[in-house]
């Protein structure tokens, strides 16, 4: 039922264009990292809503739950310590999760038809039923998001709670967030909000405050406000992420060159056969004669 609500804008390994023609408002999540208190409500809200099993963790010398997201833990608050030049200490807290890129590298890299889809509201979703577990999406992602389960050999990540969004609800993490660090809405509206918040941060002395909506992936469905916007690395974010050149070549020119080469090769041999045919081995005696003749 819910599937009818969302049409597909892009689909992995699709030999034909995706079927969606209806437009839908592009939804987005705004993360105001300057308002994050690292309470981790979003972490468990995500797990609880998605009925994901708890991970076994150990204390690793920080408040961070674990080093990285996992197949059953899609949303991790990263605790980065940062000292500015004036010696002021900052705890930079960032929600690490799928960015729902407008131009998703994972979808581009995925060879399994329909394993990764992008709905017309912008959500990039993995369909584990169609996933073949090749891990190409891991290579395709500039943000280190998809994680493969050792048990199921399928890749998992944040779905932006597409089950909730498709019936008109906000994602679980958004609802849980106590400080309004997370906001859900259409991307258009959220970008406006982000702009005014950045201005407010700049007035408050964070002159580099900026919106992180990297153009390298045509913008993301998960937009962050960074107080130290010139230094996304301090938050553990890539400075200028894009789908890797290697993936672009591989899924772009190389694909066409390869296809042409293969088809060309087959046609070429066929034409060669038509033109030249097989080699005929001379009769043995004739060969002998020739030998003798020398």
């Amino acid at each position: 039922m819910a599937g009818k609500v969302l049409e597909i804008r892009a689909m992995s390994a699709s030999s034909t264009p995706a079927p969606g023609i209806r437009s839908a408002p592009v939804v987005a999540k705004l993360i105001d990292t300057s308002a994050c208190i690292g309470c981790k409500a979003c972490e468990v809200a995500c797990q609880e809503w998605n009925d994901l099993p708890p991970e076994t963790t150990v204390q690793i010398g920080t408040y961070q739950t674990m080093p990285d997201t996992t197949p059953s833990f899609w949303n991790l608050i990263k605790f980065n310590e940062h000292e500015t030049d004036d010696g002021a200490f900052h705890w930079l807290l960032r929600k690490d999760q799928c960015m729902h890129c407008a131009d998703p590298g994972c979808l581009k890299a995925c060879p399994a038809p329909g394993a990764i889809v992008q709905y017309n509201n912008g959500i990039v979703d993995f369909q584990q039923d169609n996933c073949i577990g090749c891990g190409y999406c891991i290579a395709g992602c500039p943000f280190n998001v998809p994680k493969m389960s050792r048990q199921t050999k399928k890749v998992y990540k944040c779905t932006l709670c597409v089950d909730r969004v498709s019936v008109g609800l906000e994602p679980a993490c958004i609802k849980a967030c106590p400080t309004n660090c997370l906001t859900f809405g259409t991307k258009e509206v959220l970008l406006q909000k982000a702009k005014s918040r950045v201005a407010q941060l700049q007035t408050a002395g964070f002159l580099d405050a900026a919106v992180y909506d990297p153009p390298g992936v045509s913008g993301t469905g998960v937009v962050s406000i960074l107080a130290f916007g010139k230094n996304p690395e301090a938050y553990g974010l890539p400075k200028d992420p894009s789908v890797s050149f290697a993936v672009e070549i591989w899924k772009g020119p190389l694909k066409w060159i390869g296809n042409i080469a293969i088809v060309g090769g087959i046609i070429g041999t066929f034409v060669h056969y038509l033109r030249f045919g097989p080699k005929h081995v001379p009769e043995d005696d004739k060969a002998k004669q020739a030998d003798a003749g020398r």
């Binding site: 309470c39 972490e43 076994t56 150990v58």
Partner: protein
């Protein structure tokens, strides 16, 4: 809280000190974030650690655990010396103008107030901590100009002049610039149209000087004109869902429901008791609301004993137990938590009921708690999960004290109880909102709701008294157990009783011919209660929560026409559905709001409009009734005339275990003169030469107290006990992150993983380099996953604040080594 969670969004400055709201009250903290976002409010965080609240602060100052008073003293001094006080407010609403009794003095060398007996080492005479009273009228003398050297304001200025930035820096370990910067922001709210709030929690109450600490914060807020203002106040965040309701409803040895002091053994007559709880007014025209306490005492007795509370038996004055007198003259026995466990350890107790409490973990000094429990004949624990307390006799727990289960003769009952989702009833949050919750499902297996457990035990004992008689069975038999289903009282019925109803027709007090409340009707307001036995009310504070209009705690109207987050029709807000307490102070002498954009109440010529006024609703401003209706002075107390045991002002005293001698009076009193350590073999205090490091304990946002250690998700979020150690100290000791370290105090030791961090910096205290470390609570022996018994309270001591009797969990001494 004087205000409420939703009201914090109205603040211009939020001082989070003695609490870590982002960590422990993340959802409540959202209003501080709203203030920041919508009003550009400034958040100042003062704490021993750079923590989650600090992560979003505008100014963070690290101070030594246990030096908060000095910091607040510094802020008060800054406000006074820079004239950043709201003078009109101070004159109108505080006792700054009051003259102090001749003889009151403070000795800056010894750090002691007048009345100290050097030999007995105690304040034997507190009579000078008082106002200068006009013998003819009985009222206090005042100087409206505040120029008299004996007026509170001048004395206060002189008292806090010692808290210079340099002195504060030397005590707290922060730089003088840090103090001044924080002070500049905090005191910026002295303007009438600027309001600041303070959010504090157990970081202030867990000290041997906690009440005075909060007094200091109150003084600061009063000087800045922030009490009673929307966006202002002094807000205790509180740590448990119904810790507010528990204290409201009398779960404390020293008072009955509604914060009325318990009757004492030396109050021979009912009248003596009533006089003790009804003070005489100290200024002309004040409301002195506590004069009404007779109504509430009698109504409470009527709720308890029903028909058996009669005019003839003083409504059951003798049916109710009285607090026995203590050993020293003029004192009473102390049965507060730490004392109870001390008495228990001394063998004075037979049995203990624990409803959802886990004293082995949550009380101070776990090993003493285990030793004390071992002295009990029997222990009854009603719980959701097996706890360290219920199984204190097991080898798993007992090894801490080196005993064997067979030596523990305590008979233990562990009763499976229903949890929150499995029963209905109301919780009162820290904003004093009484909100009803509904039952979602039945308890699992044989588990029973607490009302059934309480009722069945009580009724069984009553049955035994009926059958076989016994000692003084009167109250047992007299108790009014009227519930439709006696073995399992419906909580709706109990809620009705707590609010109370008219037993017979209640007549209007102005016109005795008019029936104010019909017999059988629920009481609607405080003054519907009567002292003649015609009404009953279990807790006067909750009058209005269950009226003829129904159970108002179930209200769910989210409308907020005020725009100030008042939500007047959401649930019920004691007292009288008032959302901001002391709100008379939000308006000036003429009844007009100091800040029209934040008007909580306002005089419209006939009555006060807006929020429910904390005032007589139709008393005009010029009548000068006094904004603090509960105080016989009618004003707030900067100078506290005798209510506190260690003095009328807040002086900085060092924690019981301190790395230094008090820098304010190095040759005088160092720690709180009124705080007294217990004397058992367990109650040892450490010296700084052996235990040089300051330690503090706290909660983490991922866990709730000692409950969520049963939840796999929460354990995943914070799997194990750890010790936060400053980088420099770790380097000195050769400790690396995630290595195991041992923290030892004079009471015991505890092992956990090191978390080496830059978030705690070394400090210079009184010229000495001092390190502090931090330890979260939350783990024990029982729970999901591997629990290793890393109970933080194994190293804390049980010295308590002499007013509130709260233990000093913050700022004690330890040593640290690799494990």
């Amino acid at each position: 809280m004087t205000n409420g969670w939703t009201d914090i969004a109205n603040a211009d400055v939020v001082l989070a000190m003695g609490g870590n709201p982002a960590e422990n009250h993340p959802v409540g903290f959202r209003f501080a974030m709203e203030a920041k976002r919508n009003r550009n409010a400034k958040l100042v965080v003062v704490d021993p650690r750079y923590q989650r609240t600090a992560a979003v602060s505008d100014k963070f100052v690290q101070i030594r655990a246990g030096s908060d008073v000095a910091f607040l003293g510094g802020l008060i001094n800054y406000a006074l010396t820079h004239n950043r006080i709201q003078e009109d407010y101070v004159k109108l609403y505080t006792n700054a103008t009051f003259l102090v009794k001749e003889g009151y003095a403070f000795d800056e060398t010894t750090g002691l107030f007048s009345g100290w007996d050097k030999d007995k080492k105690a304040y034997t005479d507190k009579s000078t901590w008082a106002y200068d009273i006009d013998p003819k009228t009985g009222f206090a003398n005042v100087d409206e100009t505040m120029q008299d050297p004996r007026c509170v304001f001048q004395l206060m200025k002189k008292f806090y002049a010692r808290y210079t930035p340099a002195m504060v820096s030397s005590i707290c370990g922060c730089s003088p610039q840090d103090l001044e910067k924080a002070a500049e922001i905090v005191t910026s709210t002295y303007l009438p149209n600027k309001v600041g709030t303070i959010m504090y929690a157990l970081g202030w109450t867990h000290h041997s000087f906690s009440v005075q600490l909060i007094h200091a914060a109150a003084m600061l807020q009063l000087l800045l004109g922030n009490i009673g203002m929307p966006g202002g106040g002094l807000n205790a965040l509180r740590g448990h869902s119904n810790i507010q309701g528990g204290t409201d409803c009398g779960m404390a040895y020293h008072n009955i429901c509604g914060y009325i002091a318990i009757q004492k053994a030396d109050q021979a007559k009912f009248e003596d008791y009533l006089n003790a709880v009804r003070p005489k007014p100290l200024r002309p025209g004040v409301m002195n609301f506590m004069a009404n306490y007779d109504r509430f005492v009698v109504s409470q007795y009527k709720a308890y004993y029903g028909k058996n509370a009669t005019q003839e038996n003083d409504f059951g004055f003798n049916l109710h137990p009285k607090l026995p007198v203590g050993a020293a003259p003029g004192t009473y026995q102390n049965w507060s938590w730490a004392y109870m466990f001390d008495h228990m350890y001394e063998g004075q107790m037979d049995g203990l009921f624990s409803f959802g409490m886990n004293p082995v973990c949550n009380g101070p000094h776990s090993r003493k708690a285990i030793a004390a429990l071992s002295k009990l004949k029997w222990l009854v624990v009603a719980e959701n999960f097996e706890t360290e307390t219920a199984a204190f006799w097991s080898e798993r727990v007992l090894w801490l004290n080196g005993g064997k289960p067979e030596d523990v003769k305590t008979e233990v009952f562990l009763l499976p109880a229903a949890n929150f989702a499995e029963k209905d009833g109301s919780f009162t949050n820290s904003a004093r909102w009484i909100a009803w919750k509904y039952k979602a499902l039945d308890p699992p297996g044989d588990a029973k709701p607490d009302q059934e457990i309480i009722a069945r035990i009580f009724l069984k004992v009553r049955e035994l008294y009926q059958k076989e008689g016994g000692k003084y069975p009167d109250p047992v038999l007299a108790l009014n157990w009227w519930y439709t289903s006696p073995n399992k009282p419906a909580l709706e019925e109990v809620a009705k009783e707590i609010n109370g109803w008219a037993i017979t027709d209640v007549m209007d007090e102005k016109d005795p011919k008019v029936v104010a409340v019909k017999a059988g009707d629920q009481l609607g307001k405080f003054l519907d209660a009567r002292a003649d036995g015609s009404t009953l009310s279990g807790n006067w504070l909750y009058i209005g929560s269950y009226t003829q209009a129904g159970n108002l705690t179930q209200r769910r109207n989210g409308a907020d026409p005020s725009g100030l987050g008042r939500y007047s029709e959401w649930a019920f807000n004691w007292p009288a559905n008032r959302r901001v307490m002391y709100n008379r102070c939000s308006a000036d002498a003429t009844g007009q709001p100091w800040d029209p954009t934040r008007a909580d109440i306002k005089w419209n010529g006939n009555k006060w409009i807006g929020d429910v006024p904390d005032y007589k609703p139709d008393s005009p401003p010029e009548a000068g009734m006094g904004a603090f209706i509960m105080n016989p002075e009618g004003v707030a107390r900067l100078f506290v005339p005798g209510q506190f045991v260690e003095g009328p002002w807040t002086e900085h005293y060092e924690p019981m275990e301190s790395p230094v001698q008090n820098p304010l009076h190095p040759d005088g009193q160092s720690s709180n003169p009124a705080a007294k350590p217990f004397k058992t073999q367990w109650d040892k205090l450490g010296k700084p030469d052996e235990y040089p490091i300051v330690a503090t304990t706290y909660r983490l946002t991922e866990h709730f107290h000692y409950w969520t250690k049963n939840n796999p998700y929460n354990l995943q979020e914070q799997p194990e006990f750890f010790v936060e150690i400053p980088e420099e100290l770790a380097a000195e000791k050769g400790i690396k992150s995630t290595q195991y370290v041992r923290v030892t105090s004079a009471r015991g030791s505890i092992v956990g993983k090191a978390m080496v961090t830059r978030r705690i910096k070394p400090m210079t205290i009184a010229g000495k380099k001092v390190y502090q470390i931090g330890m979260p609570i939350h783990w024990g022996f029982f729970g999901a996953g591997d629990q290793e018994g890393s109970i933080a309270n194994l190293v804390t001591h049980s010295v308590v604040d002499p007013n509130s009797f709260a233990p000093e969990y913050k700022g004690f001494l330890v040593k640290l080594e690799k494990a």
